[in-house]
Symmetry: C2
Subunit: 527 residues, 2 copies
Amino acid sequence: MLCRLSPRSSSLTTTRSFLIFSSMSSYSSTSTLASTHGRSPKPRTKSRTLSIDNIRPAVLKVEYAVRGAVPQKATHYEGVLKAGKGDHLPFTKIVNANIGNPQQKGLDQKPITWWRQIAALLEYPDLITNPLAPQLFPPDVLERATELHKEVGSVGAYTGSKGLDNVRQHVADWLEARDGFPADPENIYLTAGASAGVNLIMNVIVRPGDGVLIPIPQYPLYTATLASQEAIPLNYYLNEEENWSYDEKSVLAAIAKAKKDQTPVKALVVINPGNPTGNCLSQDDMRAIIRLCHEHDILLLADEVYQANVFDPINKPFHSFKKVLSSMGAPFHDEVHLVSFHSISKGYSGECGRRGGFFEMVNIVDSVMDQIYKISSVGLCPPLSGQVGVDCLVRPPKEGGESYPRWLEETEGIKNALRDRSLYMQERFNKLEGVSCQEAEGAMYLFPRLHLPKKAILAAEADGKTPDAFYCLALLDATGICLVPGDGFGQKDGEVHFRTTALSPGVEEYVSGIETFHKSFMDQYRD
Amino acid sequence: MLCRLSPRSSSLTTTRSFLIFSSMSSYSSTSTLASTHGRSPKPRTKSRTLSIDNIRPAVLKVEYAVRGAVPQKATHYEGVLKAGKGDHLPFTKIVNANIGNPQQKGLDQKPITWWRQIAALLEYPDLITNPLAPQLFPPDVLERATELHKEVGSVGAYTGSKGLDNVRQHVADWLEARDGFPADPENIYLTAGASAGVNLIMNVIVRPGDGVLIPIPQYPLYTATLASQEAIPLNYYLNEEENWSYDEKSVLAAIAKAKKDQTPVKALVVINPGNPTGNCLSQDDMRAIIRLCHEHDILLLADEVYQANVFDPINKPFHSFKKVLSSMGAPFHDEVHLVSFHSISKGYSGECGRRGGFFEMVNIVDSVMDQIYKISSVGLCPPLSGQVGVDCLVRPPKEGGESYPRWLEETEGIKNALRDRSLYMQERFNKLEGVSCQEAEGAMYLFPRLHLPKKAILAAEADGKTPDAFYCLALLDATGICLVPGDGFGQKDGEVHFRTTALSPGVEEYVSGIETFHKSFMDQYRD
């Protein structure tokens, strides 16, 4: 069965995190099911001390749909199934297609052996020199672990706040090889995943009231972070009809509106390859974005965490903003401010649980870099599990080494499975009544559009839900499949989408489940 | 040699993080040595885009001395020594006594074998079932790893934002055993260390302009977090003469002043055992604190990360605030709002690099808990390395198990070494001219007071430094020993302290180094 909870977790312990919302897009203070919990009866608490009315108001505005009401209801169902109380449910397992978490239970993506052998040896270095080690680990793994252990020391020690010097040097070498332009390890920070990097940079640079240009649809980390900082998301819209391509007119319109509103435009976020769209930017569009940032003095924040998830690397390869910027020459290459984020959670590695990633800063002035250093130091350092993971990412086994063939087979298998599933799902979705789905060129999601009948919209309204949430909750209730409603990512007014990952094994069965539900939904609500 | 940097790290790569400040307590935008860096010449950047003048102003007010100017200068020296360019220096190694990082290079604290064997097996689960495994791992380790692997799945997967259900259940069981009162796993969050937990809670509950009562001296995480949130630290002073004991009068004075200033008093921070003081609170004082929080509707934030670092557990044992609160009965036990923080970075484990910890919430209302859940979910989840570490902390090997004797020997050795060093250092410090040092009852630091001659104070002033920074920088320059100036933790006006860890091996040599420096410093500046 998919997504087993631990044997000790009862259905009761999941109730606290299952919130019932009147709408997907508002986290309310509606009471939960906690009162059903037998062990510690809810106390009469003094609301004078801490209540929804005296905590930080900005917090109330934060939304994060990827772990919002639909996923929380899915978690609730998992608890019910786990407790053996799911006989009344029309499904026997939950399919978590809401989050890009490739190694979660129920999915079929295995960790890359190279990574895990090295990690195990660094956790327990006595193994490296154990006489049995050559029977358990290939020579190139033992060699790399020996080198890393000497450099890193104990993975139980804090490192510098920017991460290990040697790993940052390896990242710089890797960036140079990727881009053909120099990279300075002093401009590179290792982070606890890209989210932690984005949060650090936003936290330092964005003032309350500043505007940040955000693609719509976007990964909700950005709007959540801005809401928390009382900053203003300035929406620019991707062109769905042209495969979610970049639309400069929309950015210019957002800038013009911000100027009219006297909102300073601080930064522009680009997600490439796109989440949730799967779009891969052309170099022409990237140059246009860079020129625009230069023209308007806007910091460019490039979320490039899906750079290894590109489905047609020959015809539609990934280009980094660092490379494109560096190749543009003066006045751009030394004047446009850029921060680029990367992660070990995506790509072929999918090592979300290690919490690792890095960012590279380009053209950021020293005085601002000093502040970034200071704020990062309050958090001490990113986890060593993630730092070692970054080293595995940028230093895979060498061609000719004992581990290389296995590494190649594992990574190619993951890449191919993701691409094949994405294409298959897109084709099947496009055959459904009232569904249009752009082909993803990369990343690990699809973001199909639903053209729902009026009757369905009205039913959602009557139920106090957005049409997206209404559809996704109905799908979950009927099939156990957990998607994220499109409004969690942003969309044009009146549109309806959902996001699904392309990670579910048994993709035929998976799509069939959605198809069957969709047909019955349309039968019920067709105008 | 202590604290080797990686072979690939040149002295040049350390220059960016070595800031020259006019004062310890102000991070300025003073230009750094980056321009000496040969690889990527500093570009003409457009300050219009991002500059010290248009980033978030609150950031500028943040200070974090534990990784401040003195440690940064030590890092610079390390780079110089590493590059073989330290012949002019009067020392051959840097002693990092600035930070509680027990497993760092140069110290002698080894990881607990039980933890690392389990971690290695979870990283590379193929080992668990390998026929050679029984030759490498004790049966109880293999049994525990098998159980955890079944429950956790891949350590490369995201977990729920609160952390793994089963680990939270184990924490609850451990808290119940520790305190004799029920603990609900739904009120427990696993975190990326205690700092991440404190940051999450502060981020949700503290409004700009709110006041938070902070002990002086304090661990600078608290003032840094409050500065970042534009909240107001309300200082209350510990009683140095009575072993840094709690002084209710000082808290009441701070509350009275806040009321006069119309500053809402939101929370009271207690660090027990104390950092940097080493004080262990009596139950009487704890009850007084709880009554005060009840009387004034103040949230109690209990930093209890050093709870296992108690030097005389028979006569001065650790009591948790949860236990004391629970034992007080009505109206306190169900009305006082409490969040208690714990960590795997301290205690006998010292696993800082894993980034693990947890907090337990008591009497927090559901609506606020919902907001804490939502904000934690934006950060996805704490690293699995830390979550697995928490499980090792709360479920050590069972008495009678094969791993138990080794675990006991390792943990007792660490506890004894820390206590013995602390007592030894305190005795020697107290024999120095113009130094008074309270005996630490726990934690891993000493915070001696320096009664410096007027001439030294004036020399510091002339040098544009606080007396604390002046002394610590002179010590570093002369000996390579890195301490943290007392003003980074807070102290009464005109006082001078420093914080040292009690982690350095070769403690006689270590103290002798400080003694020799101190004598020559006093000879130079004696009035």
